[in-house]
């Protein structure tokens, strides 16, 4: 039954589309009905992951499934769908995990949130430690007089070493 539902839905959509095209008077139909180029298809396919093999995007994937997906993308583009609409189409049908760029919803929200929290926590810890260390050494610092000579410790060493060599 579902199949019929889908066919029916598509037919209505097609009718609506044709009516619209007719109403608008033919000119935009040329633009919309234009065959999408391979590059257009790849542009969208790149943003989708192969559903069967780990990690590869649909544009680069050699499997039969991905070839079918690319054909489907071509169809949808020819129907005049935008890139975003096509991505939503696949995400709704197969799940959010087919999107190369994880969305900010569901389980995928955590993939964005956790690293940010971790980095903030790291920064916080670092800040705390630095405060503690520098605070404790403030007293010491006060007693240390100018340490100009420390500044270019290294160049001084070069010369020291050299003077030793010449002896």
């Amino acid at each position: 039954m579902q199949v019929f539902g889908e066919i029916f839905q598509r037919l209505t959509r097609l009718t609506l589309f044709l009516t619209l095209v007719y109403a608008l008077g033919g000119l935009p139909a040329l633009a919309l009905a234009q065959e999408p180029s391979l590059d257009d298809i790849n542009r969208v396919a790149k943003q989708l992951s192969c559903p069967t093999c780990a990690g590869i995007n649909v544009a680069d994937c050699p499997t039969e499934t991905c070839a079918q997906w690319r054909a489907k993308i071509g169809e949808l583009l020819a129907e005049g769908k935008t890139d975003q609409e096509i991505l939503e189409y696949f995400a709704a049908r197969y799940g959010d995990h087919v999107l190369q760029m994880p969305p900010t919803r569901g389980v995928f929200l955590s993939i964005w949130v956790v690293p940010v929290l971790a980095i903030l926590a790291g920064l916080g810890l670092l800040g705390y430690l630095v405060r503690r260390w520098t605070g404790a050494s403030a007293a010491m610092v006060a007693s240390v007089t100018s340490n100009e000579e420390l500044q270019d410790e290294y160049l001084k060493r070069v010369e020291q070493e050299l003077s030793m060599w010449r002896e």
Binding site: Q47, S49, W133, L150, L162
Partner: protein, 711 residues
Amino acid sequence: MMAADLGYVALSLAFVLAISSAVAAWWGERRRAIELILSARNSVLAVAGLLTFAIALELYLLLSSDFRVMYVAQVTNRAMPAFFKLTALWGGQAGSLLFWSWLMSLFAAAAVSGSWRRAQILIPKVIVVTQLTLAFFLSLISGVWALAASPLRAIGLAESASLMAEMETLTPFYQLGFTPADGSGLNPLLRHWGMIIHPPLLYLGFVGFVIPFAFAVAALSTRQTSDVWIRVIRRWTLVAWLFLSMGLLVGMWWAYGVLGWGGYWGWDPVENAALMPWLTGTAFLHSVVIQERRGMFKVWNVVLIMITYSLVIFGTFLTRSGVVSSVHAFAQSGVGPLFLGFVAATFIASVILLFERLDSLRSEHMLDSLMSREAIFLLNNLLFLAIFFVTFWGTIFPVISELLAGQKAIVGPPFFNQVNGPLFALLVLTMGIAPLMPWRRTSLGKLGRLVLWPSVAGLITTLGLLAIPSLRQFAVLPSTQLHMVPVTIFYGLLVFVVVVIGQEFWRGIHARRRTTGETWLRALLNLIGHNRRRYGGYLVHLGVVMIALGVIGTNFFKVETQRNLSKGASFTITSPLTGSYTLTYEGLNLHATAEDVRRTAATLRIAQEGRFVGLIQPSQDFFIPQQQAITVPAMRHSLAEDLYIILAGWEDDGTTATFKVYIEPLVNWLWIGGLVLVLGTAVAVWPARLEEHRTALAARASGQPVAMESS
């Protein structure tokens, strides 16, 4: 079947000896019995000998195509040339675990005998750690776990019992009940010199990092946390890092040249597994310098090397089993749980040890100021760990989402690029500033004077690129406005770093010339020769800048198109840098490149700016025994860019063919930068000359502060 049986015996003996060596070293240290420790050391050497023998046997079996041995049948076939048969040693799981163990045994033997005098007090625990690690790997490939099958079955754990029984097939000497007529042969993708040297390099890096970890544990447990262990591991760490870096670079090179998708890094779990220990290892490499110079961050260094060790074990496992791609595959083999168990056990044990010894890790100095090299190194460490965490999180996310939400969610490259990209940019900034920051503290004025020229150069670069379109063309920035601002800022950063490095060299040379009147070249060579680690490090940084340039070029300015051409037809693709390429499809031909390989090659004429420059042949190889087709990309290299073409498909008679064409701006700077990085590291690890040791000794004897010890 003599050889395979002997192999079994050698592996089992090595396993027993490794454990007994660890036990002897442990007891010898407790009882202060030097004979026991000596015996432990001899066992370490014997294990290395036994494993060398096992490797020789395995190579013999591979060469003689003894297909009764399961591993030989899995990774070779009769048609393969002898050279590939030898390299098939690391072409499969069992063989690579054997190879790993062999390297581990050699490193352990070298570390123990090499540091015998210098760090005698640490040796027993180094033996314990290295031999236990080795024993774990040997337990996997010597079939020891199969012994656990019947006790497990006796207590009613039938499932675990059968998993353990299967472990027997993981030994590289496992014999089938029959002799197959031919083997299945090595995966065609691996028949490339990049894939031949990539695993050994990676494993050398992995195994190398076990040694610093062993010394760290030894130092902690004996409370010898002063700088002895830091000095001993210095070269080990650098060597491990060198091999790991080379392994990563060669892996990228192979992916770019063989996999045929126009990229070199896909953030897949196996790549990440090798990158993660590199990130924490690089952080360790930097922060350990602070402990050497200022006696600070001792706890932090121990934590870093512990994480690196765990990641090395985890990485070895991941590169060989691909657990992340499926939790189910993980549960279906006995190796996964054993590996994770080992990683968890060693990590927990070392954390406990760390907490027990916290009192001996007091910092000798405080952080004097935020305007110091110590502080900037802290920032560098934070960034490395942040990148590590993002990578780790993205890598294990599929497992987490499958466990929590029942949906296996693999994370694609856009996530990693989006989050890690800016972090890497910040890292480049710290890389630029760090050499200008003196130890302890500096004043704004001092820093300002040093930063002045690099900043001016960087700013001019960024502003110039933003303002003048013709400059952009020169710097491979195409007309697209999309990433203009971040990318020009990054270009500015790169120029900043290069000028900082140049300025450091200039200051050193200038100082030498002022005191000695040496020629420029002489001064430069002496400068590097006497401070290998410092100036080798600068060379490495220069390499990193070049690599960054390649990464920017390929990430932001890649041009690609896919075309279906009929014979004689042509199309034009425009490069952001060198104008336009016109490609004309000339035809298709089929020929044999090897006994079992048929190649379909398309010929294209290339015209650059309308002028004929050459022919190019993207092709596809079909491997008959495996029934597997592999695309062979064709490339036209230049310093500015690569023209990279893949034959994606064709009509049988060759009347039409489909091509994917990429223009990869600046990609070759990635490989050149890699070479510079390797060269710089080699300069840093090269042994110091004897006379320098004498100078240092003389300085120490005369009560002067010890001059910077090179390497």
